[in-house]
């Protein structure tokens, strides 16, 4: 199993060094080769399970609740101006 490491890393927004690409390329291939044993199982007519315990969507009353901890939330920001998180320029 050969994986396009560059493509996957780009999708995952992971910058990788050349060394990491080589290391992960090999390791991911062997993990996915191992995962191929699932293909041996016949799963026609088997429904997928995304939650082991039956789940229902939960809705709460549509009511505004004040946010009490704005200060500590903003204090975690790497770059904050007033009440905003700053990021590098997006549009030239």
């Amino acid at each position: 199993m050969k994986i396009d490491v560059d493509h996957v890393a780009k999708l995952a927004r992971l910058g990788l060094t050349e060394e990491e690409k080589k290391l992960f390329g090999g390791q991911l291939s062997s993990i996915l080769d191992y995962a191929a044993i699932l293909q041996k199982l016949d799963t026609t007519n088997v429904l997928p399970t995304s939650h082991a315990i039956p789940m229902e969507n939960v809705l709460r009353e549509d009511k505004v609740i004040p946010c009490q901890n704005v200060k500590p939330i903003l204090a975690n920001g790497p770059e904050v101006t007033d009440h905003m998180f700053k990021v590098p320029k997006i549009i030239e």
Binding site: L14, L41, T49, N76
Partner: protein, 483 residues
């Protein structure tokens, strides 16, 4: 004092024979003595703990509102949010993150008057089976310092085993409470999915994650679960079933219980010393009046592969939030937004986290979704069906918790797949959402062996009854490491 269980200490506290401040000081003293060897903690909150102990003492003096955990020093795994304290998930990307709110389990601990003594080390974002993947420092097994404590709740298990905490919280996605409990010779209980609120637990794989207690004995496990369990409006996956008093399940009697032992987990791939210890435990149960049945769960062979597609897929989505915008590390080399993402995530995440994000992204990507992710979800159905068939014949299922005792530091680091296979007995339980406990059942060369008891959905009481009976009739839980 630090080497006693919570229920023993609660008696002393309630009788006024010892104060919470004295107890907390004793535990801090113990931490100062052994922490340089074990390295179980990321943060020790000495001063804050002593303040909480004072408040607990006042509560104990007034005899008001006393709970079984009032005044007891408890450690919290560092992926559970604690307002005003570091919550790092043992990751460089969250190394300076101060949670703006408490996780529901932390709120419950505070309300009960417990003393939060510190935050414990773990594999980064709970991804790992040895705590070697911590982005901060490794933790060492108190029984033999050259071996790993297991993972990902390795810090919590090591802290309890080394008497650096009376109890600790853990989280379990594929065995992360039970396997370290097994390696460190303590009791670890993963409740049914939905039994304990995950609000404020930093998400790894949301359909599998569950919080539970790590304790010195089964009685403490029941006491701790009484506090943790229950519906929480802040976690839409928590379940609104009533919470029983789990201490009522602590009955020293297994007569008439039907116990199934899992054939696949007493065969190939399991060390002979482990098999022997578990066989002895099975024999003990029959002597105590339980009926033993051999059961086969053929889909177990596929569980590790299934898990290592589903968990990374969920993780790759959950960990997309670490982008350097609102919290955590941001790369200094960020001339535009995209390079900021790339560099922040490269610098902030460790190898195992990167590996799992890559596997998950791949399994969810166009052209591979059906073959990997969807296929894994279908096999998950088969695993659940196998459990249902087994439980039609018996009340509980028994197996080893791990295929070996604690392995040497560094031994499995370069081979991720062999590390993954150390979770072979615990992973199927998470895939099916079931509750399971690990408790000590033997020693091999002074390293603990764990027995896993699996129950049906919300069948925590039957597990506790069997575990309690075993514990009352053996003395493995009394064995202690010498540090």
């Amino acid at each position: 004092m630090h080497n006693k269980s919570a229920h023993e200490l609660q008696e002393l506290l309630a009788a006024g024979k010892v104060s919470s401040v004295e107890l907390t000081k004793a535990v801090i003293h113990r931490i100062e003595q052994v922490e340089n060897k074990v390295q179980a903690y990321v943060t020790v909150t000495k001063e804050e703990a002593l303040k909480q102990a004072q408040v607990a003492d006042e509560r104990l003096k007034r005899k008001e509102n006393i709970t079984p955990l009032t005044g007891i020093p408890i450690a919290v795994k560092d992926n559970m949010c604690t307002a005003g304290l570091l919550t790092t998930c043992s990751s460089k990307i969250l190394a300076n993150y101060i949670a703006p709110y408490d996780a529901t389990v932390v709120t419950k601990l505070k309300e009960a008057g417990a003393v939060i003594i510190g935050k414990t080390n773990m594999d980064e974002f709970a991804m790992g089976s040895s705590t070697e993947n911590s982005g901060l420092h490794p933790t060492f097994n108190p029984w033999k310092l050259e071996t790993v404590p297991g993972g990902s709740s390795g810090g919590s298990a090591a802290a309890v085993a080394a008497d650096e905490a009376i109890m600790a919280t853990g989280s379990d996605t594929g065995g992360s409470i039970r396997q370290p409990a097994s390696f460190c010779g303590v009791v670890g209980f993963k409740p049914t999915y939905g039994r304990v609120s995950r609000y404020g637990l930093v998400a790894f794989a949301s359909s599998l994650d569950q919080i539970g207690p790590i304790t010195k004995d089964v009685t403490d496990s029941a006491l701790f679960l009484n506090l943790l369990a229950g519906y929480d409006a802040k976690d839409s996956t928590s379940v609104s079933l009533p919470v029983p008093d789990y201490t009522k399940a602590l009955v020293n009697n297994v007569k008439g219980m039907k116990l199934g032992f899992i054939k696949e987990l007493l065969g190939q791939g399991i060390d002979s010393a482990i098999k022997e210890a578990v066989q002895k435990a099975l024999k003990k149960f029959t002597e105590l009046g339980a009926e033993l049945i051999e059961v086969s769960l053929p889909s177990f062979e596929y569980a590790v592969a299934t898990y290592y597609l589903i968990a990374p897929a969920e993780a790759s989505s959950n960990l997309a939030r670490y982008d350097g915008v609102k919290f955590g590390h941001r790369s200094k080399e960020a001339k535009d937004l995209l390079t900021m993402y790339y560099n922040t995530r490269r610098e902030g995440f460790g190898n195992e986290v990167k590996r799992r994000i890559m596997i998950g992204t791949y399994a969810l990507s166009a052209g591979y979704y059906d073959a990997y992710y969807l296929k894994a979800l279908k096999v998950r159905t088969l695993i659940k069906q196998d459990f249902a068939k087994a439980f039609a014949k018996c009340d509980l299922l028994l197996s080893p918790t791990a295929p070996s005792v604690a392995f040497k530091t560094g031994e499995k680091l370069s081979d991720p797949l062999s590390m993954y296979l150390s979770d072979i007995a615990t992973i199927p339980v998470n895939l099916a959402g079931l509750p399971a406990i690990s408790l000590p059942c033997g020693l091999q060369n002074r390293l603990p062996i764990g027995l896993q008891i699996i129950g049906q959905e919300f069948g925590e009481e039957a597990i506790l009854r069997a575990a309690f009976t075993y514990e009352q009739n053996t003395d493995w839980h009394k064995q202690k490491p010498t540090l």
